[in-house]
């Protein structure tokens, strides 16, 4: 007999469970998909994670997710211009995909179709019992895009997967398969208006020798809840650079789950988190080096203003056979207000004995010497501070080198400073 008392559901948990009952008949999927959905909602019924769950220690989802908006079919949203010039734009508006374009060497499919025919069911897997984002998404996912880039394709135009939402709820998936030796730039844009709840799961499978620059740009309104997951697996000599910019949202969790599974694979994570107002933004990474001779570097820079709270958790698991792993992680934060907060938790779990791994974290204010130097040249204090904060972030962006990528990102940065600086 189960003696554990049924936990009292929070209003948010109750709303999710009720919504599942109401939506069930509308959700696409064959029997196999429905089984996955059922399992997922059971996970939610057991309660959203609290701070007692280690991976959610700094983001007590059960407490922070105060309410859940109803699905709103009447909400109107419009796609926005692509971030990078000349992109192939695929937008999802309020959780619904559109007709797919045709691009040489690439197959696009609406994910709704792959749920209906059940071909996507095997990919609906959650990441352990703490995976609230994966569970919520699996329960409700209704659409998205499946992108298959053929081996050897060198995509000249970037692909932008744009998720625009106006209030209500949306749950999307963006699986992308990149064939051996293929090369692509992919932008994942997460934006919208209104107090919505969005969950989004991206799954990237990178073939041998493939090379991808993936940009996640999230600028949801400051009333929105954004729960996202990016999962990737890297083949032999595959190279992935993931750039994450969080510039909005009220409650944001961006998970990054990467497996360097082929020898010679290289993963780079570069992150810029711009925190303002009352927002809570959490970037949590779990990186597995599972084979020998793989490398990774992570650099995350944060700026905290107002009463915002930020979190970066970076966990690197170096498996026992993964000799010669080279992994470096750094998280640097500029605290610009007395009421702001940032928590960093680096974790290295190393089971191999011949590796080079390191991590560092700093939380600082603006360097007074730098400020004095700029002011001594006639730059007023406000401008000088702005210049230094931007410089702190621009360093990470400029590492991307490609001007066609750096400039639009720096413009986003300027826009953010214009409204929050």
């Amino acid at each position: 007999m189960n003696m554990r008392a049924e936990i009292q559901r929070t209003p948010a948990e109750a709303a999710i469970v009720d919504a599942f009952g109401e939506r069930l008949s509308l959700l696409p999927g064959d029997g196999a998909v429905m089984v996955k959905r059922d399992d997922a909602i059971e996970q939610i019924k057991a309660g959203l994670p609290t701070r007692r769950v280690e991976s959610w220690h700094y983001t007590d989802l059960r407490r922070l997710l105060a309410s859940v908006p109803a699905f709103d079919a009447s909400a109107e949203a419009k796609p926005i211009a692509a971030l990078l010039e000349g992109s192939t734009l695929l937008s999802i508006v309020n959780g619904v995909s559109a007709a797919t374009p045709s691009v040489d060497g690439v197959t696009f499919q609406r994910l709704g179709d792959k749920l209906v025919d059940g071909s996507y069911a095997p990919a609906l897997v959650t990441y352990g019992s703490d995976d609230a984002v994966g569970a919520l998404n699996t329960a409700f996912v209704a659409d998205g895009y499946f992108v298959d880039i053929e081996a050897g394709t060198q995509l000249e135009k970037p692909i932008e997967l744009q998720n625009v939402q106006a209030g209500g709820q949306s749950h999307v998936r963006l699986p992308v398969r990149v064939g051996a030796g293929a090369k692509a730039t992919i932008v994942e844009r997460q934006t919208g208006e209104g107090a919505g709840l969005a969950s989004s799961v991206s799954q990237l499978l990178l073939g041998d020798d493939a090379e991808v620059l993936w940009l996640i740009v999230q600028d949801q309104p400051e009333t929105a809840t954004h729960l996202a997951q990016f999962k990737a697996e890297l083949g032999k000599n595959a190279k992935l650079t993931l750039f994450v910019m969080n510039a909005g949202g009220k409650l944001v969790r961006q998970e990054v789950i990467v497996k360097a599974a082929g020898e010679g694979a290289d993963f780079k994570l570069r992150g810029v988190n711009l925190l303002s107002g009352e927002s809570h933004v959490d970037v949590t990474m779990v990186l597995d080096h599972t084979v020998p001779h793989t490398s990774s570097t992570e650099v995350v820079r944060n700026v905290v203003t107002g009463r915002a709270k930020g979190v970066f958790q970076g966990r690197i698991n170096v498996h026992q056979i993964a000799q010669k792993t080279d992994a470096r992680m750094a998280c640097n934060t500029l605290l610009l207000s007395d009421d702001g907060e940032f928590s960093t938790k680096p974790e290295l779990e190393i089971f191999a004995d011949d590796v080079a791994c390191g991590h560092g974290a700093t939380v600082t204010e603006i360097d007074r010497n730098h400020l004095f130097y700029l002011m001594a040249r006639g730059v007023d204090e406000k401008t000088a501070r702005g210049l230094l904060v931007r410089a702190f972030l621009a360093e990470v962006i400029e590492e991307l080198e490609d001007e066609t990528v750096v400039e639009p990102l720096e413009e986003l940065l300027s826009n953010w400073f214009a409204t929050h600086g």
Binding site: L374, M375, A376, R377, G378, E381, L387, L388, A391
Partner: protein, 251 residues
């Protein structure tokens, strides 16, 4: 142009008094050298003139063109025409030198009610100034002072001085870290700025720089006071006999 009257100042954090009743007058058109042994307060004086808030003025005043500057922040002082060439110029990662120069020049222009410089005009000015200092223009695409050698940093300071066209220049140990060729180039750069409406204060430990930038007046600083003033022959006398004699004489 500059009148320092009975200045007393201390380190804000520790309260240690560094400047102890310093008097100094520098006229427009004058090049004044300030010399003194280590720890006499030379660099502190330069920082106080520039407005660094690590120091607290407890007594006395600093008048610039008859107006007290003590209540002005460093940016306001710079906009009024005061310039400090740092002994140890700061490296600022992430801020491109060109961007920094443009913001600095236009900030000062704005404070004076002038229009911002047009980009081609700005670039032309920088190229010209860099050329006379034998600086590689490509270097200016790098972040401010990052990866510059000691000599390159000093040249970059003089470059800024040329571009900002200040009225009162304070050069803090500009000769340190320079080889003889660089010293010549930097000195020529400073000499080119000599003019009847501009004053230059050269802070140095050694006579060497004063062979190139010949001062009109020389002041010896010791324990936070000017203990002796004279013309350029005073610097030569110091070179010959050291500071001991003058310190004894003043005691």
């Amino acid at each position: 142009m500059l009148e320092i009257k009975n200045l007393h100042a201390r380190i804000a954090e520790s309260g240690t008094e560094i400047i102890r009743g310093l008097n100094l007058t520098v006229k427009a058109g004058e090049v004044a050298a300030i010399m003194g042994p280590n720890g006499s307060g030379k660099s502190t004086l330069s920082y106080i003139l520039a407005g660094r808030d690590d120091y607290e003025v407890t007594e006395g005043d600093i008048l610039y063109n008859g107006e007290s500057i003590l209540e002005m922040d460093p940016a306001e002082r710079a906009a009024k025409g005061l310039f400090l060439a740092f002994q140890y110029p700061m490296e600022i990662p992430g801020v491109a030198t060109m961007e920094f120069l443009k913001v600095a020049m236009n900030s000062q222009r704005k404070a004076r009610g002038e229009e911002p410089l047009k980009v081609p005009d700005f670039i032309k000015r920088v190229k010209e100034a860099a050329g006379t200092l034998e600086m590689d223009f490509n270097m200016l695409k790098r972040p401010v002072n990052v990866g510059f050698s000691g000599g390159e940093k000093k040249r970059a300071e003089i470059l800024q001085m040329k571009l900002l066209e200040p009225k009162l220049c304070v050069l803090d140990e500009t000769d340190s870290g320079l080889d003889i060729d660089a010293l010549k180039i930097v000195s020529d750069g400073v000499n080119a700025l000599r003019s009847p409406d501009r004053a230059i204060i050269v802070i140095t430990h050694y006579q060497r720089l004063l062979d190139h930038i010949v001062p009109d007046t020389v002041h010896v600083l010791y324990k936070g006071q000017v203990i002796k003033s004279g013309d350029k022959s005073l610097a030569l006398e110091l070179e010959e006999n050291g500071y001991a004699g003058i310190i004894e004489e003043a005691a």
